[in-house]
Amino acid sequence: MISSRSILKAGVLLLFAPLALAAERDLDPEQLALTYHKLAGKAFDFDRHAAASRVVGQASGFDRPDVLKQEIARQRAVFDTASDQIVFETDIQNSISDYDHDRGEFSVAIFEPGSYMPVYFNRQEYRVVFANAAQARAIRMPKEEAREFDRRIMRDGNRSVMTPVRFRIVGDGDPAGAVSGQYVVRAELISAQVLDGDGSVLATPDFTATPAAPPVSFDPLAVDAGGLRVGVTADQLEAAVTRLYRKPVRRPRGPRSDSDPRFTGSIEIDLMECIYVPSSRDREPVPGDVCLRAFYDKDGIVRQVRIQGVLPRFDYEQARSAAIARFGPATAVSGGSTPQLSWGTSDPALGPGLTLRIDPYGNSLSFGSGDVRAGSLDLTLTDTAWAAATAAPAN
């Protein structure tokens, strides 16, 4: 194993959201960023990053072209040697919760769901999420011991602790779907300790007892979206929709259709019925409404289904955690007013195997400023294996 330590101290800022956090021992943010880009398969602009580097900025105008070339070559060398065997080490300043009397445990903030460790490299934020943090989160003990433990933590008048960690980068995205951002680094803890202000060990989580589960590949054929599956015949799906909802509209793909040319037709309960147009006499979507659209291929097999359910306004966290329990660790999550979780590999035109748009306050249910008093869950399931194996027909 290769160990990364303290190559570049400048430029790294570690913060913990929502709690402040600072690094003492230093990992190399450049190595972390480049390892992430390599393992996640995300493009890295060597020219731009090298041009923005300090060494190029400090070079004279005469020497700059040569220094730039050298810097690009150096960064490429770091990238080329990056692997999931590189062990990063740092100390995280964070905090420990009050004792939970019902659960009989303290909780370490950095290991709670939704927590991440920001690392900055060339003004880009990389959010490091520990995929196996759940194994380190709780410090369990009976109430009698907890009283003394709590007194020891509070000796300095606060609940701050130091958490030295060793970890490897294993991929992209928060498997719990709770952390979003442009660069979410999925890491796996190898070891960790929780230290008090004097450096005495409060806890040493055991990562050997239940090693992190290997990533499970997502199979769109093995799940359903709101009960609907891909890989069934269009007739089968149409009959089910007719009985469960109402007779859908089935139409062949027209020559001017903007749908994917690999599809030959669609089955739909008008998606526009789940969107309110305030200026018209449109009916406002209400809980219980369902809109859906399925596309089928030349053999009449359904390859993509989208189903949108209108619900009363709901709690985002409730939907997120239910979705992770239902579909497994998310591959990616994007933020915004209507967060989106996704699973599985992605087709360039059709998107990931499964996406879920979580809209607790109905932002997507109206055009303009219409205030629809409902929320929405919107699932799109795509047969990405079929998509990868199917070329668009020649015109």
């Binding site: 599956r229 015949t233 089910a240 469960l244 809980p287 709690d315 239910a322 579909f327």
Partner: protein, 133 residues
């Protein structure tokens, strides 16, 4: 071995096709063996009451049981058939993903959808409107 369908006598090699053609509750087509056909007319369609607690509606939609056909003790959610089991005190029960259990209980004449994680909501019968001519 042979399979009887109305007016047909089929060879063993046609077993799978025959099961599909015979109607409700059949496995899906060869493209997706996990799928199932919704019974064409048997059983009754139920939906979770839109006035149910929100947590029950979120769980129901994500697990595809916001609307389903209940035939005897079998549950069909569009093109999916759930693995059900008879359980004391429930009309039927099914195991969903993530160790979540689903029970359909009867409170008087009112069926209730009950999730093992706690959320529950009443069901109401649904009949799709006749297609417009």
């Amino acid at each position: 071995m042979s399979v009887q369908c109305p007016g047909l006598r089929l060879a063993p090699v046609a077993l799978l096709l025959a099961l599909v053609a015979c109607g409700g509750g059949a496995p899906g087509d060869a493209a997706n063996p996990s799928a199932a056909s919704l019974p064409a007319s048997r059983g009754e369609v139920w939906m979770i009451d839109p006035a149910s607690p929100t947590d029950a509606q979120v769980l129901a939609f994500l697990n595809g049981v916001h609307r389903f056909v209940l035939k005897d003790n079998e549950i069909y959610t569009a093109t999916t058939r759930l693995d059900t089991a008879k359980v004391d005190g429930a009309l039927t029960a099914a195991t969903l993903a993530g160790d979540l259990q689903l029970r359909i209980e009867s409170q008087g004449v009112q069926p209730i959808l009950v999730f093992s994680s706690g959320p529950r909501g009443p069901l109401r019968k649904y009949e799709a409107p006749e297609p417009k001519p």
